[in-house]
Symmetry: C2
Subunit: 797 residues, 2 copies
């Protein structure tokens, strides 16, 4: 955990003022740079010390066999794991022959700063070598949002007290040694086959390495070129071996003189393109980058971010530390999603090897709805990637004896990679989640071309899956048995309410979209009988209800189970899955992450307000939040049922998850769904944004501490601005033709002519519900601490 107030509270930067080697791996994740295609962890320029070295390319993976102590039909035989590719970040420095390594000599000063407006990672170090020479090193690193294949580094060194002989080695290094990952199942898998070299080359200051993976047969190339400024007499030499390309600069520097290197890095990979094609592609990318120049890249980056913040930036007043966390989250979400371009969006973005670099249902349920309301185009691209994997999903459905498509629980390339079927294969809700994202996207964009090309087929094939997975029982009810819902502390349940409600929506959406596009539907083999069978299943979908308790059970049997012995569980036994067996979790009332509560968010139409409040009060004392996917949803429903301070506490927990390493695995990468969940907690939680039918609806209200909250959403080619204060909400249409939206139960029409102002919502709330002992979220002070220090945020355990 990151216990100290590690980062200064500043509006637009994440600044680390001292280097703490104990949390180096965590800060490497926090300071990671990415554009969705390339990901560079925040490793120190000189390569060592290092928590986890990491350089990733979206979808570049290696296969590894999945071993089973006892095999079974339909178990995936090979897994896909993200590869730590050729490291181009490395710039080693020798000062009078002594390597610059902050574990030796004396580090006088060290500062790193992630600049959220400039889109760069800056670093400054003052270091005295073991032989007593003091130097200053300054580097700036960026991964370009505008030039997808390009990263760049400015590296500058200057002696402070005496003349020194400086050698700077700029490198590309393939097949770096990786540390042992231990046993946490959330970390990445065992080591992979090394990359095999195909080509290595240096020419002048340019170096290039091309490799391929041994099992997945993917080719990857990395190239670098340099600009250098230094004193007279500076020399340069270059060499390469299969796994290393190195360009070295040597100079004799007086105090006040500097050696400055600009390093342009280009990456490319392909499953099909030849070595020479990859080679040329890298050279071309370098040419474009050199032609833009370092200052040009910086300017493009800043312009890009300026537009982003203007368009998407959330502003809140009353809690500067949380405002910072919100911006941090928005920045990383942008990095993960902006340039995915028909590739999957992994659960960790490209910030670390956690979960093997896989994408899960999180993307469709937590990430894509947010993208849809900010950058609809990026959401469409991600769904087009899903669509491109349909042949594999159909094949998987056939293998499982089902119709339609069965999308993988976790994957990079599209094949199922889960080696634990009760929480993988059985978690069929992934299919309804994809349909949810499709339906949400179409409702918010009216994108008919997408619907015809991509959306309809996804809806049809998932609806077919549900129709064959469930059955009409003797009482005429449609039941879906033996599946696993979002809560990973339950499995193989009958009629998981979340699953059934989302499947119901999926079936209806397929029927409606088929009617809207009869020709395309016909080409997919849809006929009126099939549409009728979907409607019948949706209409007769069984939703269990516990009449005794007057609550909605998570599934048929959940509320009849023994309650988890929370009183007998010690704080160090969380997360439970690392300390107790699944068999016991599955058979008791204990919830890892919002499940029924998530259903109340996504299918709020299926519950009355009173039922929501009762259900929320029932599940709160059972929910331990051992998953980072939980608190944002709890914040949203807490806000909906009027528990505004509880919502705020949850919101803070989500917002600080990675900045304070609350889940203790930020080392393996940031939690993208949480980062995005911060947006949702604010917009859907305090803004109360929902899709009501095909219209936007808002029920705005603020927790005590927040004095102002503003956000913007894109909806059907409009841009809507919302500004909430404790007393009133102000809606403005920033772009587009007039639009009717709901404010609470009133339809208001927004136009660019004038703002619409309404009082904020007043909700009668019951008593604040309890959480399991020791799992109460830390209370966020209701008022800012007067001129005090940064508020600490310790996790509740």
């Amino acid at each position: 955990m990151i216990t100290q107030p590690a980062f200064a509270v500043e509006a637009w930067t994440i600044r680390e003022r001292e280097l703490n080697l104990d949390v180096l791996a965590q800060t490497e994740s926090i300071f990671a740079l990415s554009n969705g295609h390339i990901g560079l962890r925040g490793n120190l320029d000189e390569g060592e010390p290092c928590g986890l070295p990491g350089t990733y390319l979206n979808s570049f993976y290696e296969l590894r066999p999945l071993p089973y102590p006892e095999g079974g039909y339909g178990y995936p035989e090979s897994g896909q794991t993200i590869v730590n590719v050729t490291n181009g970040k490395i710039i080693r420095l020798l000062v009078d022959g002594a390597p610059f390594d902050i574990r030796y000599g004396q580090l006088q000063r060290h500062e790193r700063e992630l600049d959220l407006r400039a889109g760069v990672l800056r670093r400054t170090a003052m270091w005295s070598s073991p032989t007593g020479r003091t130097i200053k090193v300054s580097s700036i690193r960026l991964v370009s949002f505008t030039q997808r294949a390009i990263a760049a580094i400015s590296y500058e060194v200057e002696p402070l007290d005496a003349p020194v002989r400086i050698v700077v080695q700029s490198e590309l290094v393939a097949n770096e040694a990786l540390p042992d990952v231990g046993k946490d199942p959330r970390a990445s898998a065992a080591s992979l086959l090394p990359l095999e070299s195909e080509e290595h080359e240096v020419q002048n200051m340019r170096g290039l390495l091309i490799h391929h993976t041994q099992a997945s047969h993917l080719r990857i190339g990395a190239a670098m070129d340099h600009l250098v400024e230094g004193p007279e007499g500076m020399t340069m030499e270059a060499e390469s071996t299969p796994d290393i390309a190195r360009v070295s600069f040597s100079a004799w520097l007086q105090p006040g003189e500097r050696l400055r290197i600009i390093k342009f890095l280009a990456y490319g990979w392909s499953s099909q393109r030849s070595r020479s094609a990859i080679h040329d592609q890298l050279i071309a990318a370098l040419t474009a980058a050199r032609s833009t120049g370092w200052e040009g890249l910086l300017a493009e980056q800043r312009d890009f971010l300026q537009a982003f913040w203007k368009h998407a930036g959330i502003e809140m007043e009353g809690d500067a530390q949380l405002q910072q966390a919100v911006r941090f989250a928005q920045f990383h979400a942008l990095q993960a999603c902006r340039r995915g371009e028909q590739h999957p969006i992994p659960a960790k973005g490209l910030t670390g090897p956690g979960y093997d670099g896989h994408t899960f249902w999180d993307t469709e349920i937590f990430v894509l709805p947010v993208l849809t309301l900010i950058f609809p185009h990026a959401a469409a691209e991600a769904l087009r990637w899903r669509h491109s994997t349909l042949p594999l999903a159909r094949e998987r459905a056939r293998q499982l004896g089902l119709r339609g498509a069965a999308f993988p629980w976790r994957t990079i390339h599209g094949e199922e990679c889960s080696g634990y079927w009760p929480a993988g294969t059985a978690a069929f809700h992934i299919n309804a989640d994809i349909a949810y994202a499709v339906t949400f996207y179409i409702a918010c964009t009216d994108d008919h071309i997408f619907e015809q090309e991509v959306g309809l087929e996804l809806l049809v094939e998932t609806a077919r899956l549900w129709r064959s997975l469930g059955f009409l029982d003797t009482h005429g009810q449609f039941r879906i048995n033996g599946v696993t819902g979002p809560d990973e502390y339950s499995a193989l349940a009958n009629n998981n309410v979340y699953t059934n409600l989302l499947a119901q929506q999926n079936l209806r959406a397929a029927a409606e979209a088929s009617r809207r596009h009869p020709q395309v539907a016909c080409s997919l083999g849809v006929d009126t009988d099939e549409i009728a069978s979907w409607n019948e299943a949706a209409e007769k979908m069984f939703i269990p209800y516990d009449q005794d308790l007057n609550v909605t059970p998570q599934d048929d049997a959940f509320t009849s189970y023994e309650r988890w012995n929370f009183a007998g569980t010690t704080p160090d036994q969380y997360p439970l899955f690392l300390h107790v067996p699944y068999f016991d979790l599955y058979r008791k009332q204990v919830v890892k992450q919002a499940d029924l509560v998530l259903a109340m968010h996504l299918r709020g139409d299926a519950f009355s307000p009173e039922q929501k409040a009762r259900n929320f009060a029932y599940y709160e004392p059972l929910t331990v939040r051992d998953s980072s996917l939980s608190a944002a949803t709890q914040a949203i429903i807490a806000a909906e049922v009027g528990q505004l301070q509880l919502a705020y506490d949850y919101f803070a927990e989500v917002a600080f998850l990675d900045l304070y390493d609350l889940a203790q695995n930020t080392r393996d990468g940031l939690h993208l769904a949480s980062l995005v969940g911060i947006w949702t907690a604010l917009v859907a939680g305090f803004g109360g944004l929902r899709l009501r039918g095909s219209s936007l609806a808002f029920t705005p209200k603020l927790p005590e501490r927040i004095t102002r909250l503003t956000f913007r959403v894109v909806f059907r080619n409009r841009c809507i601005g919302v500004e909430i204060t404790p007393t009133e909400v102000r809606y403005v249409l920033l772009k587009g033709s007039p639009l009717a939206v709901w404010h609470e139960d009133e339809t208001i029409t927004l136009s660019t002519q004038e703002a619409v102002i309404r009082p904020t919502s007043q909700i009668q709330a019951g008593p604040r519900p309890d959480q399991p002992p020791g799992r109460v979220p830390l209370k966020r002070a209701a008022r800012p601490l007067s001129d005090g220090p940064v508020e600490l945020f310790h996790h509740n355990r």
Copy 2:
């Protein structure tokens, strides 16, 4: 499958008249010899060709890591696998320099014969070498029932047409190469670390090898000594290397002359004893065997078996082929169980490496009750082995967060070795099964010493497990959720009726035994509160019932599930688990093996006769018998509800399971529970034997074809003989003081004075229930075929 009528129908032998290499591995299992301590597969003397080489010592295992694609808390990290130890069976033969290998030259004649009265495997071969010399080879092999560490072979060779130079090499071979086992999960695991040599030695005609396992640290020694008879000029030499000891005999034989070798083999292993202690132990065993001599060993073996058949042999008239199968089964059951002596009884006996040599619940539920009624001492020994593993079972319970003891689903040494927890760890019924065997043993023997020393503690610790595994719900009912019953096509069910009924009996038995032995109970920490809590749980045990269907559901939800699509399942899709995923089996009405039906056998008191008939009729069409553990139980309940021909069909299926390789995995070893199940199908099925309270009860009736059935059981120091004909049953007390037993609902008193004769039972049966399409057991003809050939028995697929 073994399709031809492979074996001659003879009363006391299993004779193979031709060698069929396609089913060599199967016949190696069928011709395996064992005494429960040593097991020798029926490999050909000369070692090759070979299906699966196999030499086993009870409980001699190696550890192997259990790999998981996604780990989890409480998963066993290492598995135990039976080791193919030093092969002492090998006797190689060279005829004028050509190796005797039946794949070359011409095999004129080959016969193998398992003699069930002599307890030996005989083999005769007439073979012409590639160079045209014809010889006759005769061997006899035994594993001694009377000298536990000893096996012996008589090997004789004689030229038939011309003088030949004969070389016979008698060997001990460690670390034989094993064939690849393929993917069937029922086969054994991947290859193990080789045995490491500690000592090798030859002296005169004696050879000895001592090795140890690398991971489990067990030491094993094998030794051989020889007697030889041959012509003048015969020479002998001997040599050894770390993995081979070899004694070679060379002679020039004229037609009519013979070379005959008697090979004595001794085995020993230990986890504690030193190399020199093992060495000496082997020499001593050889000394005893030599002193007994070959003829002496044969005589002891024959005497032992004579007593066995007299005491335990089942006789039936009307179906000679089945009579033979019954004797085959009884012989192998004897081999597997007679000399276990506080070691586990593996599912395959010592006939093959299937299931890694593990013991399962089969032993307690299917094997031990039979042993209890034939050789109660052997049943007690097996339970003493379970008792010796209590510390490990307690530790496992702690690891799982439970009280008492959690015995392993599969093991050799006592640690859980199951790598698939939904069908391993969750199958908690193993604990009630052990308690069942204990209770049954005590009721049938009145063995108070056993009860005090072993039984009570086993009952108490398993009762404690149940008390902590289940809970009293808000309606005051005791529920056991999330467990897996016997049927492996269901898992993680709530209130599996089999489990709950056996747990109920377990709880009551612990309470009663504690009251009988208050001092011992007190020393185990049992107090009156605890006894009361067991009784309360037993009394309030929840047993679900489906009022709509008027049947007992296998568990809370079973009868609400979709029926398996039997019509859409092709014959080649059985066994289903090799062709469809578990997730789909678990969520539908399809039964792999008797579950509720087994509960009706073991807890018949909990069901009315009408309920039994209804339940049986309900489950028959759902039960696919993909497990060999099913048909015997179906035969028993079919007989109870009056379906006598169906019972007979099932009985035949059980009886021919291994002789016709019906499960297609006899190659990996025989199915011990089935072999024993034949006894139970006859005695509990047609004899109708049950324990009613603490008394024996019989409801005898015969299927049409059987004209006479006799069996004996041991009960409380009495020996009872039962002879059933189509019209009447004759009970005789062969030994012991008078005893009251039930005949149907009448109490009759048996004494050694005179037999009691009653008419056989008449049961009104409903229509014969259906089985799933393609899974109807083959109908066994109701009358013997007149002077026709042997009846074929093809499996139903």
